[in-house]
Amino acid sequence: MALLSRVAEQLYWGARYIERAEDTVRVVRAYTDVLVDLPTSVTTSWEPLLAITGTRALHDAHHDRVDEASVIHFLVADDANPNCIVHAVAAARENLRSAREVLPRDAWQVVNDMYLYVAAHRSDGVSRRSRSRFAERVIADSQRLDGILSGQMSRDHAYEFLRLGQAMERADMTTRVLGVRAAALVESGADVYAEVQWMGVLRSLSALQMYQRATNSPINGMSVIDFLLHDRAFPRSVMSCLQAIRDGLARLPRGDQLAPVIAEVFATAAQVSGDAVDGAELDAETDLLQSALAGLNNAIISTYVGVLD
């Protein structure tokens, strides 16, 4: 059955927001764990979390200091931050609510349930003691939704838009983590705690175990970057996400019109390499990749949603 353009857009954003909530919670949890592991002699900063989520300016407009309390609250539950976890889940719910008739009923219930949980437990996500419990619940709900969609939803156009949104958001988050954390680590060179920190980068994308299995060697910054960008088997690598986007678009009407745009994103991703000599170069390359992804996002929206008159 024909899928309304408005509903397609709501599915796309609904899935992006759910993925954003899950990815943010993973990054926050992994970063907290790394800082806890590092000895007190090492200077630590919570600023990278703001950089990864691209919310530094917004944060500073509302807070005087950048410390654990302000950053975590800002990323989890601050009404001033439209991308915080509570707001992302609320936005996903609002979008999927108006697309409810095309979703399996259980899928909507998970999203609703997730919203009720984060809205009622926002302070749990902030407090260090309960933060990981909150994170586990958000991740579990997001995975529950993923499972329902996999197991109960026909591979129709509505499904494709959900998966497009998910893959776009994943590619975006992986790119951001590379641009901020990896670039900073490359810049700081051979620190004694580099290994712990690279493990943190991998953990924030739930990639540690798969990386170790794939490389079968000690952790090395260059190969981590290469893995997160180019590994074809790991589902959160940029290339895997792009592959999923390309395949999904091919199953949609007029998807061929977007082929040149996606080809350009592939080319840009291929140029970013783990051989980058310095952090600034990696940072600049991931910036280009970010813009290419933003361009793809706009092209998807204008092709399928257009301008409503």
Binding site: A2, L3, L4
Partner: protein, 491 residues
């Protein structure tokens, strides 16, 4: 705590209990169960049900500070039970009523025989706010305009069932009827096993069949959509529910457009896609800014053009509300006799029409025993309940009636029936009504039971969910073995 003393209010008819507090025959198993379970267990089941409602996202929207707020649907776990034999009678009465009402609407927009023959006064049509001249000359399929209706029925203290209102425009509540059953089956699985309760789940399938049958193109498949005003509408939950159950798109006005060929299209990722049937949940004044309110952003410009050209079917048809008005209501028994040559099966509440001097005289002399209503306002505005009014209010109303008699009608004060309801850890009698849903097309269908709405406050007769009303699952129970019959009444 045990439930030994189920109370009945003096002067009201209880749906489950006899005046001495013992169970009515059809409610025996349920009442025994209530007694056996006790209040604590019932409260536990109520809490489970409330949690289910919350997590399933069964909500309605109320307005506060200009924002729509989602509220969990209020549900009382104790069901309301109706005997199937009585239900068959009510069902036949509703079917009959809707046939006559549809014949009236079709007549009024076409030949107007009912006026020519002196049955219905032309002045009423001229004063009707729901008459749409834009609909003159249109002949919808099967002569049916009000395809989906939700009549409100009540029971007076002597047990008589009355139709209080025929909601022919965009009646809501059917999704809650279906959800209530789902919740109630979880709460009372043990009781369901002991009863033959008629299912209510078939409604959406019947609705889909009806809508498909309206397609101007004919054939067994059609492009059907549900048109909603959007997420801020109080019944948005229901619009999504019905679209989901029928597997059809839920559209907003901005998703549709009418092209130069007068065909309605929806904007899809495949490009414009033709729409054959629109189940609209937007009031007809808002469906087409070209024909009605120009400031409406909820509608589709050109929709009336398309409908008049026979390119799209709209349910309910624009203009169907002409028969849903407090004055026209008084003529429904006459319509049944005039169009069907039958006697009405269900009682109409006796309605005194002040436009007639003799009836006006009666209203003025007996105002303390009557409810006086303005003819064309909804939502209880301007309602005067005689036995609760002061002498000054009665005097004021008398002057208003004399100044503009055509704008007033009056009815005897009915006492709504009650049923045992769980209220803060006690089981108390509370007033209720019933909204069955009737589908009319080539054939008719009536839901088995309907949505029971209950006033949760003591003594209150206000059952609206926006004003503190709750709801109950409604069981139509077969007490005569082997008498079960399908609920579809073919015409």
């Amino acid at each position: 705590m045990t439930v030994t003393d189920l109370r009945v209010n003096a002067g009201a008819y209880d749906e489950l209990l006899l005046p001495d507090g013992s169970a009515r025959e059809h409610a025996q198993v349920l009442v025994n169960t209530l007694r056996r379970l006790g209040v604590d267990e019932l409260q536990a089941r109520q809490d489970h049900a409330d949690l289910d409602i919350l997590t399933m996202g069964i909500t309605f929207t109320v307005y506060s500070d200009g924002r729509g707020i989602d509220r969990a649907w209020p549900f009382d776990v104790i069901p309301r039970v109706i005997d199937a034999t009585e239900w068959r009678h009510i069902e036949a009465g509703l079917t009959q009523r809707l046939r006559a009402l549809n014949m009236f609407i079709d007549d009024i927009y076409n030949e107007q025989r009912v006026i020519v023959d002196g049955v219905f006064p032309i002045e009423l049509l001229e004063g009707s706010v729901n008459f749409r001249p834009e609909c003159r000359g249109v002949r919808p399929k099967y002569g049916v305009w009000a395809h989906i209706s939700g009549s409100d029925i009540v029971r007076d203290f002597d047990g008589t069932v009355y139709v209080l209102e025929d909601n022919l425009r965009v009646p809501s509540g059917v999704s809650y009827m279906i959800e209530n059953r789902l919740i109630s089956k979880r709460a009372f699985a043990d009781v369901f096993e002991q009863h033959s309760v008629q299912p209510v789940d078939g409604y959406t399938d019947e609705l889909f069949k009806l809508l498909t049958s309206l397609s101007p193109a004919g054939g067994s498949s059609a492009s059907v959509v549900v048109l909603t005003p959007g997420i801020y509408n109080s019944a948005y939950f229901e619009h999504g529910f019905l679209a989901q159950r029928m597997g059809v798109p839920l559209v907003e006005g901005r998703d549709l457009f009418v092209d130069d060929d007068n065909v309605v299209y929806m904007r899809t990722i495949d490009g414009p896609t033709r729409v054959d049937v629109i189940y609209r949940r937007v009031d007809d004044m808002f469906i087409d800014p070209e024909a009605f309110r120009a400031d409406s952003t909820l509608g589709v410009a050109g929709l009336m053009r398309s409908w008049r050209a026979g390119k799209v079917a709209i349910a309910n048809a624009p203009g169907a509300g002409v028969a849903d008005d407090k004055v026209v209501y008084a003529w429904v028994p006459d319509f049944i006799r005039y169009y069907l040559h039958e006697e009405p099966i269900l009682a109409n509440v006796p309605t005194y029409r002040c436009m007639y001097p003799a009836e006006c005289q009666y209203v003025i002399e007996h105002m303390a025993e009557l409810v006086v209503k303005p003819a064309n306002e909804s939502g209880g505005a301007g309602l005067l309940i005689g036995n609760r009014a002061t002498a000054a209010e009665i005097l004021e109303r008398t002057e208003a009636i004399l100044a503009d008699p055509r704008n007033w009608v009056a009815q005897p004060i009915l006492s709504l029936s009650t049923a045992p309801t769980l209220c803060d850890g006690a089981i108390l009698p509370r007033h209720l009504d019933l909204r069955p849903f009737i589908l009319t097309g080539a054939t008719s269908y009536v839901t088995a039971g309907g949505l029971t709405r209950v006033a949760l406050r003591e003594g209150s007769l206000v059952v609206n969910s926006s004003q503190g009303g709750g709801s109950k699952d409604t069981w139509v129970i077969e007490t005569q073995p082997g008498a079960a019959s399908p609920t579809t009444a073919g015409e």
